[in-house]
Amino acid sequence: MEDFFDLYRKDRWPTIFCPGCGIGTVMNCFYRAFSELNLDQDRVVFVSGVGCSSRVPGYIRADSIHTTHGRALAVATGINLANPDLKVIVFTGDGDLGAIGGNHFINASRRNVEMTVICINNNIYGMTGGQASTTTPYNALSSTTPFGNKEYPFDLAELAVTAGANFVARWTVRNVKEIIGSMKKALTKKGFSFVEIVSPCPTGFGRRNKMGDPKQMYEWLKIKTVRREKTKSWDIDPVDLNIEGQISVGEFVERNRPSLAEVLRSIKPKIEQT
């Protein structure tokens, strides 16, 4: 795959994404990872729910399904189990995955269904105009938290680790090389793999939080990023996602449990033996 547009649908360009949005960077990283691995475009299914990041599969020139809000992982589970020979890749966001799809997220991680989930976490509902999500930092402003967000955010990556995912990584869009590296690991990993990318939404999140210029958002990501190993000292709260707090990044876990499809396939011979 030599060209970006071997993977993406040129006839759908330009995209709907706002200036300064991080999704384009993620799409570019994904193209690098996908093409460097030489994956077969005709043997991959792209799945998404609803939201800005869920529009990515619509731009990919492969079998792709843009499902209902929050249900991408459940649909992906059906695809993987009914045909385990196809690679399933999910693009989702913090609203789609952490709120309305939270139940499917923890259960797909627990079941270790073979799929790669790429979550573009921009800390806000961008598509609907900037409402607080489950990853909006404490005290951050949004159109539905005019007095500051009074709820503590989810740490999606830690959630996946705890729920049983085989591979979990988190980076910000600044860590382009690391994103590509982790995406390649995720795409070749058996079982459930999860890559979270903290990404700027200057339009929906930045403008209300004194970071309306994309440059300011990138600066924020730079200052707040801490390697996960360093958070282990417990001097820093590992789930402290305050706007003044920190974002822990790195590769969080690597396990090798067999995928659900593998386990289910082994049931049949047992029946035949008895």
């Binding site: 619509g58 399904i65 459940a74 059906g78 009914a82």
Partner: protein, 372 residues
């Protein structure tokens, strides 16, 4: 392997599971709920033997979502539930209608609203089956009345969903689901599979001919199709244009409605009668008992509920002086019958409604006919 030719003694829910396997079921996702759970239990045991997949999901929304995913890789897929679970599935039923995803949903109806009467039958979900999701769309709904129907109609449901690329709902009830009875499995069964295309379809993945039904581009065959619940053009790409949305929504309805007569099935008993009972599901069995000893009363048993079998209703309405509709709800299909019968000249349409999770008894029906 599907049940070989022969006569079996099965529970309604078991017959449904066996009918699904006979129709070629490859994927079942479900969530435990009374009174449909036996379908999942039977398939948990049977599907691995068939090389198929059974999975118990985290809820009913996940169940129907997984079924949609499985259908797009070409597997015949089904879920089974009851009232509360059926309510949860509504958004995805609309999604399946919009994306023309073939699948079967079994709703073993129980008393509602809300948690209601978990172990007892009702026919409270008839309108929800048709109008439960937002927007305009058509689905097909079938109403089994016997254990044999549970077997036969499950196969029919798969055939219809494959042919028309539409979700098909089996509106059973706790009575039929838990009833035990005789099932005759024939040697030969008619099984229909969706029309498939495997060419590169990324510019016309939803192209259709005069049948109005696009051929199905199975995922993983190089079709590179895009599927979305957004209003979309024939490429499958999201489009906001008024003409595109209008063309799509009208086609989704028309592909079913123009085939209404082919889809709909019903049975008329005592066809020369002047008074007619219209019934479906469990009450139809009681009605059959009544008309057996009373030749002056006829029975129209609806086997297809959606689309409404208009032709058959018009036929009896033309000759009937009175129509009595039996339903285990406060009158759902009753309004449809009333509307259609009026246009055919029969204005006396009465409802005999039963709630409380109890089916009409033949005696009660006879009393109602007498005007008691």
């Amino acid at each position: 392997m599907r049940l070989p030719e022969g006569t079996y003694f099965l529970q309604g829910n078991e017959a449904c599971a066996e009918g699904a396997i006979a129709a070629g079921l490859r994927f079942f996702a479900g969530y435990p709920i009374t009174p449909s759970t036996e379908i999942a239990e039977r398939l948990a045991l049977r599907l691995p033997e068939e090389g198929g997949i059974f999975i118990q999901m985290e809820d009913e929304i996940a169940s129907i979502s997984a079924v949609i995913g499985a259908s797009w890789v070409g597997a015949k897929a089904m879920t089974a539930t009851s009232g509360p679970g059926f309510s949860l599935m509504q958004e995805s039923i609309g999604y399946a209608a919009m994306t023309e995803t073939p699948l079967v949903i079994v709703n073993v109806m129980r008393g509602g609203p809300s948690t209601g009467l978990p172990t007892l039958p009702s026919q409270g979900d008839v309108m929800q089956a048709k109008f439960g999701s937002h927007g305009d769309y058509e689905i097909i709904a079938l109403a089994p009345a016997t254990v044999q129907d549970m077997f036969d109609m499950t196969i029919q449901a798969f055939n219809l969903s494959e042919e028309y690329r539409v979700p098909v709902i089996i509106l059973s009830d706790a009575e039929v689901g838990h009833m035990r009875g005789k099932v005759k499995v024939p040697e030969k069964l008619e099984v229909i599979n969706r029309k498939i295309r495997t060419d590169k379809v990324w510019h016309d993945g939803f192209a259709y001919d005069e049948s109005l039904i696009p051929s199905f581009p199975v995922f993983g065959k190089g079709s590179r199709v895009h599927v979305t619940g957004l209003s979309h053009d024939i490429a499958g790409y999201p489009r906001n244009d008024p003409e595109v949305h209008q063309e799509l929504v009208i086609r989704l309805s028309e592909k079913i409605l123009k085939n209404r007569d082919r889809i709909c099935s019903s049975q008329i008993f005592n066809e020369n009668a002047e008074r007619f009972i219209v019934a479906y599901g469990s009450p139809a069995l009681a009605a059959r008992e009544v008309i057996r000893s009373n030749g002056s009363v006829g029975l129209l048993q609806l086997k297809t509920i959606w689309p409404t079998p208009e032709k058959q209703i018009i036929k009896i309405a033309r000759q009937a002086t009175e129509i009595i509709v039996l339903e285990m709800n406060l009158g759902q299909i009753y309004r449809e019958i009333q509307r259609i019968a009026c246009t055919a000249g029969c204005t006396k349409v009465r409802l005999f409604s039963k709630l409380g999770g109890v089916v009409h008894t033949p005696k009660e029906i006879a009393m109602f006919l007498k005007g008691g």
